[in-house]
């Protein structure tokens, strides 16, 4: 990756982190921890990898993104606004009555492909899309699904994992935001999901491990996934609350809005001041 692109992605990520925290602060509730851990993943997808356009969120052959961990929607909304799918003014109306930006994504918000947030379902939804595109002969469309790691405790995930591999849906890529925390603590203390690589391989998936905050590793992973003859799971090692010292690796920030003071400190840290 050339340094110009890398710097561009880094700046986008900073911007997204700040916007995300402002949105959650303004809403008075939300999920900063898992939103911050997925920032580089979303940035790489929307500004580097996916076939998407500015303004036009409906063109037929666009790649699809399913945010299965729907509670972490603020960064996705921020990207959609940045792409010009709706006004940036709407971002500060997150979770407010009448806003298109629901606490968990609804269908019909421009740029948001599907309802999500009831955990464990997004992989099936994305798999269904990949099935439809195969049927339609649209073999260039890629479908990306982002799941949390705690979410992998849901049984439906493994129903979908089995089925996607059985059907060799190679255009389907799952990214696991492996930040190792869920609302009540460490994922592996609550109900262990490890070893993830072995599990997905046993289910017949192509598995790639990557640093989920490293743009070059993520880009490489997405490029490798494209050539797979099977569905790919990218296990993205991440840090919950990434970029804000007091939020990092702290389950308390799974579902809590920062107050004005905390927001100010967080923004300063993200800007590197």
């Amino acid at each position: 990756m050339d340094s110009k692109k890398l710097n561009f992605l880094k700046e986008k990520a900073k911007e997204l982190r700040i916007t995300t925290l402002k949105m959650i602060h303004e809403a008075g509730s939300g999920h900063p921890g898992g939103s911050l851990s997925e920032i580089e993943i979303l940035t790489t997808l929307y500004y580097d990898i996916m076939n998407v356009k500015d303004k036009d969120y409906r063109f037929e052959d666009r790649d699809r993104f399913v945010l299965s961990k729907g509670h972490c929607c603020p960064p996705l909304y921020a990207i959609c606004a940045d792409k010009g799918y709706f006004s940036k003014d709407e971002l500060m109306r997150l979770r407010k009555y009448g806003s298109i930006l629901h606490g968990h994504p609804k269908a019909g918000t421009p740029g948001v492909e599907t309802v999500s947030g009831s955990l464990g379902n997004g992989l099936s939804v994305g798999m269904g899309m990949a099935m439809a595109f195969r049927k339609q002969g649209k073999n260039d469309i890629r479908v990306f699904v982002l799941c949390g790691d705690g979410e992998l405790q849901e049984g439906a995930i493994w129903e979908a994992a089995m089925c996607a591999a059985h059907n060799k849906l190679n255009k389907l890529t799952l990214i696991v935001d492996h930040n190792k925390l869920q609302i009540n603590g460490q994922v592996d203390d609550i109900v262990a999901i490890s070893p993830l690589k072995d599990k997905f391989e046993a289910f017949g998936w192509n598995v790639i491990e990557a640093d989920g905050h490293d743009f070059e590793e993520l880009e490489q992973a997405f490029k490798k996934a494209e050539n797979s003859d099977r569905p790919t799971a990218i296990l993205a090692e991440t840090i919950k609350g990434k970029g804000v010292s007091f939020m990092e690796n702290n389950a308390v920030w799974h579902g809590k809005a920062p107050n004005a003071e905390e927001l100010e400190q967080a923004i300063a840290e993200i800007r590197g001041e």
Binding site: G126, A132, E159
Partner: protein
């Protein structure tokens, strides 16, 4: 006597060259669509025994622009995949046809785990959902093309066993439209859905022999209910008996009572499964236990007349 669910499935397959749709199958033998992939391999996906995945994936397939036809048993559709239908099909209002078989006591010997007795109550509460239940094989065949033309979440309910034919060929299935299928007089009104409709007709005949002349309103669509037809029947007869192969809580009887209590209150007697689970064994004996046979409909009408 013909098995509606199988005839419906055959009809859907016959229409497969005229209408473009994608079939998603669970590993059941419910309406013959498990064979769809043999003829149309590119338009069929099998999900095995995994209903949550089946219905959430149906959402994805429909989201990508396909008309989706999903088939499985009604118990699994309405309960195992309840949330997937609500949140991922009804909420985004997607074009998914759900063929749900083995509904009601005609599931008989399979017992309570496989007898769907609450499915309509559950699904009726979901916004955007349309619920239909053909009353015989002719209605089932007539429904097939209407269902393929329909746009939105559509739940189609079928019993397991064969049921008597009550309609003439040429019957038109109009989704959302109640039909008076027996008009002997205004002593009382019987409102029936699905497999119970023929029992309602038998009861009307028995009553006529005793000088009691009733109307029978066939409801082929539980939701949206043809409220005008229900209110009109109440106005004309003043006494209503409802009959359904489903719990009396939340299905046809409830929907009729909700409508009439708000618009035109008259006495209503609800016949159906009496807030209990099904049993394993002869459906007719289960109908007797729940007071759902012809003589019970007759008795219910007489009760209201007393």
């Amino acid at each position: 006597m013909e098995i509606s669910r199988l005839e419906f499935g055959k009809e859907i397959i016959k229409l497969a060259d005229k209408y473009d749709f994608t079939v998603l199958n669970a590993d059941t033998k419910c309406c013959g669509l498990e064979n769809f992939g043999k003829k149309y391999p590119d338009r069929c996906f099998n999900f095995g025994i995994a209903e949550q995945n089946l219905f959430a994936a149906a959402s994805g397939v429909a989201n990508a622009g396909e008309k989706v036809v999903v088939s499985t048993f009604a118990v699994f559709a309405s309960m195992r995949a309840c949330e997937q239908i609500r949140t991922f099909i009804c909420y985004p209002n997607l074009n998914v046809m759900i063929i749900a078989t083995h509904a009601g006591l005609l599931t008989g010997e399979d017992g309570a785990t496989h007898i769907a007795s609450e499915d309509m109550a559950i699904l009726r509460a979901f916004p955007n959902m349309t619920i239909v239940e053909p009353s015989d094989v002719i209605a089932a065949r007539a429904l097939a093309e209407e269902a393929l033309k329909f746009n939105g979440p559509l739940y189609i309910r079928f019993p397991k066993a064969a049921t008597p034919v009550i309609h003439d060929e040429g019957y038109k299935f109009e989704i959302g439209k109640g039909k008076i299928i027996c008009d002997r007089g205004n002593d009382a009104g019987i409102i029936a859905i699905g497999a119970m409709t023929y029992k309602a007709l038998q009861a009307a005949e028995t009553l006529a022999n005793e000088g009691i002349n009733v109307k029978v309103l066939e409801i082929n669509t539980l939701k949206p209910l043809d409220k005008a037809a229900v209110i009109d029947l109440a106005k004309k007869t003043g006494k209503i008996v409802t009959v359904e192969d489903h719990t009396i809580i939340g299905g046809l009887g409830s929907a009729v009572c909700e409508t009439l209590s708000e618009s035109y209150p008259v006495p209503v007697k609800r016949l159906g499964i009496q807030d209990c689970f099904g049993e394993s064994g002869d459906p007719q004996k289960q109908y007797d236990k729940n007071h759902m046979n012809t003589q019970h409909i007759v008795a219910a009408v007489k009760d209201l007349l007393d």
